[in-house]
């Protein structure tokens, strides 16, 4: 079966809240020899992107989206590769849903992808005040903070984190990655909240964080 067909079938299970069906589908793909990375990139990722589009087009309710998202998370966990080399990491990153935001799927997915890509991920969870995100970044010497928000109102709370970073004179040293459904249908919001970058989905997170870390290191070098 070609990946597109797998992906369409997976999306259908997600929309129909068929958790077992989604699990069986992923297991079947793996059993048929599809590599885990390919399941993620060619089957799961397009389904997640499509799910995001349905949300953006508002053809799914928040409740339906939530249920579908949980199934996507299950599927991701079934095929995420084990982190093999713990001695060699790309560096530390801090992620969290910004204060008042409780939509954890995107953040968890990004965390899984980053961890699998070799980052030391410090996931502070939901509803994290800006101060905590910054303090943790300083504690673990992270160059990038990833702040997540799903809705318009909560995304605006990221402005406080931007302000804190700037007020502490850390503008170049600590970069701010922002993400969540709201940034996909409203890209102008990235600049409005002071983000240094975003990606549409978790698959691109590693590349974004690498880019931002490189920028931070370059700016920190005299």
């Amino acid at each position: 079966m070609i990946p597109q067909i797998w992906s369409e079938k997976l999306l259908a299970t997600m929309i129909n809240a068929d958790r077992n069906g989604a699990a069986e589908l992923i297991d079947q793909a793996l059993a048929e020899g599809v590599e885990p990375w390919q399941v993620i990139a060619d089957i799961l990722d397009p389904a997640i992107v499509q799910l995001g589009c349905l949300w953006e087009e508002e053809t799914m309710s928040l409740a339906q989206s939530f249920v579908a998202s949980k199934i996507a998370e299950d599927a991701l966990l079934r095929c995420i590769p084990e982190k093999s080399d713990t001695a060699h990491t790309k560096g530390a990153v801090v992620i969290g849903n910004i204060e008042d935001d409780f939509h954890s799927l995107g953040r968890k997915t990004v965390g899984l992808f980053l961890s699998a890509a070799g980052w030391d991920v410090y996931d502070l969870g939901n509803d994290v005040p800006a101060e905590e995100l910054l303090e943790k970044a300083l504690e673990v010497n992270a160059s990038v903070i990833g702040a997540s928000a799903m809705m318009q109102t909560t995304a605006l709370n990221i402005r406080k984190l931007r302000q804190l970073i700037d007020d502490r004179g850390l503008t170049g040293r600590i970069k701010l990655a922002v993400g969540g459904a709201v940034f996909n249908w409203r890209p102008d919001l990235v600049a409005e909240v002071g983000g240094d970058g975003t990606v549409r989905n978790a698959v691109g997170a590693d590349e974004l964080f690498m880019h931002l870390q490189t920028e931070a290191q370059r700016e920190a070098t005299p």
């Binding site: 068929d18 958790r19 087009e57 508002e58 309710s61 928040l62 409740a63 949980k70 409780f102 318009q152």
Partner: protein, 206 residues
Amino acid sequence: MNFHTVWLSCGVVRAEMEELRRRGLINGELLFLDSMLHMDPPRLEATLTAVLEQNTGMPGCLVLVYGDCSARMLDLVHRFRVGRVNVINCAQLLLGRDRYRQLMLEEAFMVLPEWAQRWEHIMKSELGLTKAVAHDLMGDNRGVLVYLDSGLVPVPEQYLVEFSAYSGLPWRVETVTLDCMLATLLEAQVVAKAWAGQEAEVQYEK
């Protein structure tokens, strides 16, 4: 200026809104939309837009009693220059921000009185969740059902028992006053009046 206020509210808090007006704590006109519109976001947004368009140019101010229920809720606020309760959802409206955050930390699934009557239809028909899937999903993400008892209708114990069995989560009742809700409504009304005042000045200058 003394503005006539239109409260455009989700029907999920109908009883609470009517009680606040009955007590004389808010005044003006109450308009309610069916809470089931949340299951169909385009219809929710289209309906809200239509009502807001109907009220454009009317004297007075309008307050949206909605959380972040549509992906473009803030756009509607800015487009129609209305007030909106500064909460992310109706549970936070009843509980206030601090208590809501505490309960979320406890992984509570909050059940509002109006919603409790419809739990079976929403979970089974709208979301298509079988008991087994609901059990798994709710168990993974939530720790307890918390019924928010605003004291206006009897606690629907039978529904809660059934929902608990369906979801696999224990349940409890949390009594809420309408104080937090009232404060949030009045804050939003101040903003709505300010918008309306600016509009009135513009009209006067014309």
